[in-house]
Symmetry: C2
Subunit: 408 residues, 2 copies
Amino acid sequence: MPVKLTAPQASTLLPVRGVKLGYAEANIRKAQRKDLLVITLAEGSAVSGVFTQNQFCAAPVTLCKSHLAAKQGIRALMVNTGCANAGTGEQGMQAAQQSCAALADLLDLNAEQILPFSTGVILEPLPVDKLISGLPTAIANLNENNWLAAAEAIMTTDIVAKATSRRLLIDGQAVTITGMSKGSGMIHPNMATMLGYIATDAVVSQAALDAIIHHAVNKSFNCITVDGDTSTNDSLIMLASQQAGHAQISETSPHFLALRDAMTEVAIELAQAIVRDGEGATKFMTVQIDGGKDEAECRKVAYAIAHSPLIKTAFFASDPNLGRILAAIGYAGVDQLDVNQLKLYLGDVLVAEKGGRASAYREEQGAAIMQEAEILVRVDLARGAASCTIWTCDFSYDYVKINADYRS
Amino acid sequence: MPVKLTAPQASTLLPVRGVKLGYAEANIRKAQRKDLLVITLAEGSAVSGVFTQNQFCAAPVTLCKSHLAAKQGIRALMVNTGCANAGTGEQGMQAAQQSCAALADLLDLNAEQILPFSTGVILEPLPVDKLISGLPTAIANLNENNWLAAAEAIMTTDIVAKATSRRLLIDGQAVTITGMSKGSGMIHPNMATMLGYIATDAVVSQAALDAIIHHAVNKSFNCITVDGDTSTNDSLIMLASQQAGHAQISETSPHFLALRDAMTEVAIELAQAIVRDGEGATKFMTVQIDGGKDEAECRKVAYAIAHSPLIKTAFFASDPNLGRILAAIGYAGVDQLDVNQLKLYLGDVLVAEKGGRASAYREEQGAAIMQEAEILVRVDLARGAASCTIWTCDFSYDYVKINADYRS
């Protein structure tokens, strides 16, 4: 069950002026399931994207990059679940192009104004005819108030729909930010098997939006892991529909930081939601590494801990078998680590120092913290001033069940 | 259940002249369980060791290295299960030293002639009094024919005792090799949570034995992974008791390769046995990467596949969800990989080429192979002549169960 995560009420998701969402049941993999989403954007919208670093990236990812580079003015996004259209070779690229052409036709755009996204099973052909035949239904119900239905339409093994809104004032004008994400397994930084869409009606330059997305992704989606698998299809998109009526925000505007931080806050909430709904998750863990020489070595230690199946199963069992964390720190690959200097904390409790168990530590303390649904693991490497924080979940029977059964 | 692995018959394990083994139930963690092993070596034996690269290495590992470096002539080994004596700080080092001193006293040796080994839970103090009080019993039953009982005495979560023998002729003299290993979880190359001891009565120089152990470990224990966790206590020891009566083997001797290859064969069998008995394992997978530019990139791809929980759970489910393998190849970090050139085979069946599913591939073929207990995954990167082979197992409900319950 998701860890302290419930689906949002539709009424809490604020419409973003200039951004409409429409969905359909296209039967791409399963019947009677929303599996196709179309988002349209007002003319003049700025769009930024970051994509998976997997070299086996999906055809739609390649096409998204090429369409963004064409600078024709993105006017619509299209997302299907049920098939990742990855590992599909030349045929997969044709299918993605065909889908874009079909949607462009229906919306009177050119194909380079469309961004396509797919998520689901890899190595299977995209049933492009089914997708295309679902488009008219999706277009027919385009609406600014469809965020919850849209968040549901992009789910795969997700249990809970993930979306959230923020409102801020810029120059006296109300600015809305609403975002949604999907993802549950094959989750790893750089980036996660996930799709994320964050829209705002703020008036913001392309350069400023690019700066915001890079800042936000490094503080959010690049700080989560479920299973260490980097997907073929990860995409995070930020949209700015330019409708809010204030003066345009550039990177040097006084309001830039306010918008950047609000967009980042939404990104963090959506990224954490993916971990809370991680496949089989029963615990949400924050792994904070302090005292490193640089952020890179902090991340090495954080991910060694967050990826260890032994640690993740111990958290699942609420078993304070914390020597496994020391072992992970030891193999994380930090150069010339002095294990006698570092300290390991669970919550506020000092567990290990001077290379061994802290003298005041009692197993009952560890056991009590391990019972919590949200747990902080903190390591002070005591060799510098750098730090990092990442989020992960535990590893349960249900993780195996979900992934053993996913296609069936 | 272990994959095609059963415990050896005691009668198939050949005694090695000059090597005696004795065991005891020392109640270190659990009662009525062999948990202490002493091995004595004839005077003049050559001993080589390789140890974990985990920086949080256990006190006995540190002490082993220092005793080997002291070159006093190793005459005895001592192994306890139930406690790893790792993450135990200064107190742990004192406990290891005390144990060595006690055994040295009983055997009329000096402490630097003893190699100590521990395996079990990390971060808990070694009950050194219990260990020491078990030593007289172990010494009392020292015998050349105790290999099976010794292999049982070093087991932790292992289901099956792991030991094997080989015999070869060198210069007309019969030479025996007998080895044993333990390990099941926290298994990763460089090295695995495992202990391995391979003894021979061959007459072999220290330099030649060092060369043999490095060759053998790279072909065996450094080619296995269960869960990607590198332990704090891994140790592989090779012993040569010099009793076989042939001329001494140096690195340039005509018989060097025969001995090296026989020792390596034993190491591979013992390493594979650890994977076959991997925690919760139901499948044994060979991952072979060909056509790489160098071995390093082949290993990156092999371990990306072997460590992916998504791939391992798909194998558990016998589900040919083989796109997950393409995804792992894509994120393995191979520089400028051309995904359109590589080929993926499952057994003899070509699954993917030209960036997508092979046109002749049928899901039934993949499904049939996934039912097997031993499966070959082969990737041809088609960009060079390097290759590598590693062994791993699947990821099952029982892996979670075993590791959630290990301490209880």
